[in-house]
Amino acid sequence: MKTETDLTNVNVNMARRSFLRYAGAGVAGIGLLSVASSCHKDHNVAPTAGVTDVGSGDIGILNFAYALEQLEAAFYLQVIATPYANMPSIELAYLTDIRDHEVCHREFFKAALGTSAIKGLTPDFSKIDFTSRTSVLGVAKAFEDLGVTAYDGIAYNIQNAAYLSIAGSIVSVEARHAALIGNLITQGNFVSSDQVDTNGLNISNKPSVVLAGANAYLKTKVSANSFS
């Protein structure tokens, strides 16, 4: 475990430097974002004890995404480590792929954020029965749907076009996951009326709504006080 972590950090630091250069957001850029966001947000951003706040500006948004991807990755790692009874091979293959995508997203944000990243979160999966297909797929659908509404809901706050593109590249994959899980639960249930409105638009959610859902499965509670 320790050795693996050290190896990861080497990758992370190198990757981060190139990411920030690519995105045009060096140290000065981050400072600028912090100032800009503190100008017009009068809401209470005082940290709450024991709660991890994602921070402000684009870094805060990337950390918000990182928090959600940590939760999703941890969930699917457990799903594959302890498959539910009689998991069909096709479902094992699909869920393994999704696990790999979510780990990929998590590691991407970790690498991109480098020292600006929030800490590793501890999940609380005590409410999930990993032996039950119904329980696992139900939570999987909730997480995927939540992820889609989260990216769509926070995207307009993103100030850097490169970050926006990456958020867009990830959210459609989350939507692909959400539709598949919906179909696995009930054939043809990929644009359910609780997720897609009467205009054919996916719903989106404010970070506070998203985190209320996510925190139910996290021991380490997360807030996004800059994005009320």
Binding site: F19, I166, V171, A175, V196, G200, S204
Partner: protein
């Protein structure tokens, strides 16, 4: 969306906002009537109308251009599904296709309303010389001949349309940077197109044995795969371009981070399959139009 918190936010930036809108009873009345004509969920655009009237400005030409580009795609998609559902005996999985058809027609109606509300002129079906879903430049005898008589061809074209729609919306997101109303709506449609793409791929795989996954899983390429040959996982070479481009679907470096070098669940590196499937890449407007014009459609002017 909470209208009141938004007005509160605006007042912080523009303390005269209330003064600007309250004396203008005509504007407020018009907004109410606009709101009553469109579905309740179109409120974000009614709000766009509020801004326009309060500040005497229309949405910028670039925003309307993005919306009309999106509407063009939706018109193509809606017509495609309408024709398919109308073709006798073609569609057997109506529980899937009818839902997608309904969504695409809703997108047409929604974008048409939105463009009108923003002061633009929405494109309509009469703005096209032809729509040729065989990809035959109007000959109706292109590579997808039989698209409305052969269900498997229909599904393959549907899959490509949905994947391309996802890429097209994604490519326009940076042009709507910071725009709460239009960016959010565009991304909300984008997510629904991705749901459709996933469902068509799942249907083709689970019921008809096609070797596709719900997500686009590309092969490695030594260089940028502009042709799309390595990025296209559909097995239909005629649609390579839909998966290629300047940022092809098989991209493995995201934002300067080499995904292949990141740790995965079982290894200190990540596979090409996971790295390419975990991210969907954008197509530019020019790339999308080059795919669609003239093979599938031709604008009147």
């Amino acid at each position: 969306m909470n209208l009141f918190s938004i007005v509160e936010e605006i007042e912080k930036i523009d303390p005269e906002f209330n003064d600007r809108i309250s004396p203008r009873r005509d504007a407020i009345k018009n907004i109410t009537s606009f709101g009553s004509k469109v579905a309740v969920a179109a409120i974000p655009f009614a709000l766009g109308n509020l801004f326009k009237k309060a500040y005497g400005q229309t949405a910028s030409a670039s925003v309307i251009s993005v919306l009309n580009f999106a509407l063009t795609l939706e018109l193509l998609e809606a017509t495609f599904y309408n024709n398919g559902m109308n073709a006798s005996g073609l569609v057997t999985d109506t529980s899937y296709i009818a839902q997608i058809q309904a969504d695409e027609n809703k997108h047409v109606a929604f974008l048409t309303s939105a463009i009108s509300a923003a002061g633009g002129t929405p494109v309509t079906a009469s703005d096209f010389v032809y729509l040729d879903f065989t990809g035959g430049s109007g000959s109706m005898a292109g590579p997808f001949t039989g698209v409305f008589t052969n269900y498997q061809t229909f599904l393959a074209v549907a899959e490509t349309f949905e994947d391309t729609g996802v890429r097209a919306y994604k490519g326009q997101a940076p042009n709507l940077l910071g725009n709460q109303t239009y960016l959010t709506a565009a991304l909300d449609i984008h997510a629904v197109e991705a749901r459709h793409a996933s469902a068509i791929r799942y249907l083709r795989s689970s019921k008809y044995g096609a070797t596709v996954l719900p997500w686009i899983t590309s092969a490695a390429s030594g260089s940028t795969d502009t042709s799309g040959a390595a990025s296209n996982d559909t097995g239909v070479a005629a649609v390579n371009a839909n998966y290629g481009g300047a940022t092809p679907e098989n991209t493995t470096v995201q934002g300067g981070v080499n995904i292949l070098n990141l740790p995965s669940a079982t290894s200190s590196t990540t596979t090409v399959a996971a790295a390419t499937a975990a991210f969907d890449e954008p197509l530019t407007m020019a790339e999308v139009l080059a795919i669609l014009v003239p093979a599938f459609t031709k604008p009147t002017s």
